[in-house]
Symmetry: C2
Subunit: 343 residues, 2 copies
């Protein structure tokens, strides 16, 4: 068979034209009469020809691949499901284009080297999709200087840089507000929240929690904000250490679904029923929430929409297609199931 890689010159020879004619035909250049183009495409197809992207990149400076920077450490039960479905969503979205996807951690976990800089320097990608929380000064300068099209997905870039950068993320303040408001509307007055120890998204969710409390003339008690690692286990343990306070409350706003699951497991061990004795609302809307008993009421992050917008915009930029600058905060929505009930 065709063991040797076929090049445009091979096609040229067969077609009896020069290799530039082949190049033009395959790139749909109007200069070449359609008849010739078709004939050449036909031959190319028969030979199973595809451009050699290395050669092509060298002369066009376009690689035809997008760099997806995606964090490490999300294979655990803590944050896994959400990010897992996110990565698949991105892959699916990109599969609709002709771009290939290089996936990398933000930093090399062994050397600490910045993969963003690496990919740019090696000229391996045309654009970047960043699912990262932070970037250091160095990386910022690099991205900006290199002018490489870049979109932040899910995480919001630092406000100082927000103007220069494109992003699409969800409104965590609004999500926190929404979750707590739902609890209030169910008649709850004494509401605890379990939040993460770090990360602006948690700060914002907590801010939403506080705000809606104040808006409804309910007391905001700092003690009711329980800081805890965002794993199932940690949430489980936190319940134990906060059990007295919990017994005096009628509802808990868990700032991740996984925490909600850990909380509910611990509650069960204490003989506290959900939602009869206490209501629980989560955040993320991971698939598993639907299968839990009781089914988890939660805040839905519109990840699909976010991914679609981000990927489309990046591809538009890369292909020179005009579209609006993307700087968008999407509103999360409330998904009512069974774990939160009237007081």
């Amino acid at each position: 068979m065709n063991k040797k890689k076929v090049t445009i010159r091979d096609i040229a020879k067969i077609a009896g034209v020069s290799h530039s004619t082949v190049s033009r035909s395959l790139n749909d250049n109007d200069m070449i009469p359609e008849k010739t183009r078709d004939r050449i495409k036909e031959i190319a197809k028969e030979l199973g020809f595809e451009f050699n992207y290395s050669a092509r990149s060298l002369s066009t400076s376009k690689t035809g691949t997008i760099g997806l920077i995606f964090p490490l450490g999300f294979d655990d039960i803590a944050t896994g499901p959400f990010f897992n479905s996110m990565i698949n969503g991105i892959r699916k979205q990109l599969a609709q284009t002709s771009y290939d996807t290089i996936i990398d951690f933000p930093k090399n976990p062994f050397t600490g080297e910045s993969n963003i800089k690496k990919l740019i320097n090696r000229r391996k990608v045309d654009g970047l999709l960043l699912v990262v929380q932070t970037l250091n000064e160095d990386e910022w300068r690099f991205i900006l200087d290199s002018k490489i099209p870049t979109i932040f997905l899910h995480f919001r870039p630092p406000t100082s840089a927000a103007g220069k950068v494109e992003f699409v993320c969800t409104d965590n303040f609004s999500g926190g507000y929404l979750a707590t408001e739902h609890l209030i509307q169910l008649g709850h007055k004494n509401i605890l929240t379990f939040t993460g120890k770090e990360g602006y998204e948690f700060e914002n969710r907590t801010m939403g929690y506080k705000t809606v409390l104040a808006d409804n003339n309910l007391e905001v008690d700092e003690k009711k904000i329980v800081f805890c690692d965002i794993s199932y286990d940690a949430a489980y343990e936190c319940v134990k250490s906060s059990i007295e306070m919990i017994k005096q409350s009628s509802a808990i706003f868990a700032q991740t679904d996984i925490m909600a699951l850990g909380i509910m497991a611990a509650l069960k061990d204490f003989g506290i029923r959900v939602p009869e004795d206490i209501s629980v609302i989560g955040y993320d809307d991971i698939e598993y929430g639907k299968y839990h008993t009781p089914k988890l009421t939660t805040i839905h992050q519109p990840a699909e929409k976010l991914i679609e917008m981000g990927c489309k915009r990046l591809v538009d930029k890369l292909s020179g297609k005009k579209s609006e600058k993307l700087q968008k905060v999407i509103e999360p929505t409330l998904t009512i199931r069974q774990s939160a009930a009237k007081v």
Copy 2:
């Protein structure tokens, strides 16, 4: 700043040597005295130089990237956790090398095009890591003809091709045997198994189940093999439709952990206690199994080991390092927790 990409010629000019000397130095060619090499490397580092991989590939035919073919549809609760941790394990393993990773579905979900062929044709990768169940004739020929180094991970290549190909997978027969044997040792005689409707891995697990039953002079009853979709929901429903048979059994071998979880949820709704009334053993050892009540007894798939072996071997092949041909079936192990008990 250095807005323009720096090339080896720029370095050459600064160092007062020719560009080939720079190339040789940066590639650690012994011909160049170490002193010169160091000086040049120093300059390169200061300028933040990295090779332009397109150019490099064009002359060496090496891209410095590995293609990871990873299936679609594993973002769900059904099979998600296992494959999710697998993808992260591979990423981590590859991060220890200087290879970048292009990730792709086996086929483009929209056009149906083979991404394996695409990546090879476009000359985008040096080697392939295949986490796929099947390959069509066309793809086989392509891989073989192109002589691109390829390793099958997790899934075993069709036996007809097993000789020509390198792979590392786990022994599903042995896993099925192990799981059922554990149940037998606990004194169970009437054992059901919930298996998937398709996939050789399920066939083999079932074969292991049957074999150990026979080895222990226990009846093999085809009715006790419950075929069901491998999702949580499907398993849940299957329990309902098989409830009479279940009531006459004392143990269930669920061929995935997720099915085990669905089964246990359904059992609970029927007021059947695990493991007091019935024992359940799973397969996969997903993280969540540890958090379930009761904690799930299951078969552990040595994914880390498999990944390490596969990635190392591929990198060895790519770098020309001699190492043994990889054609290995790894034994799974039993992880005893709480969901299976003495009869």
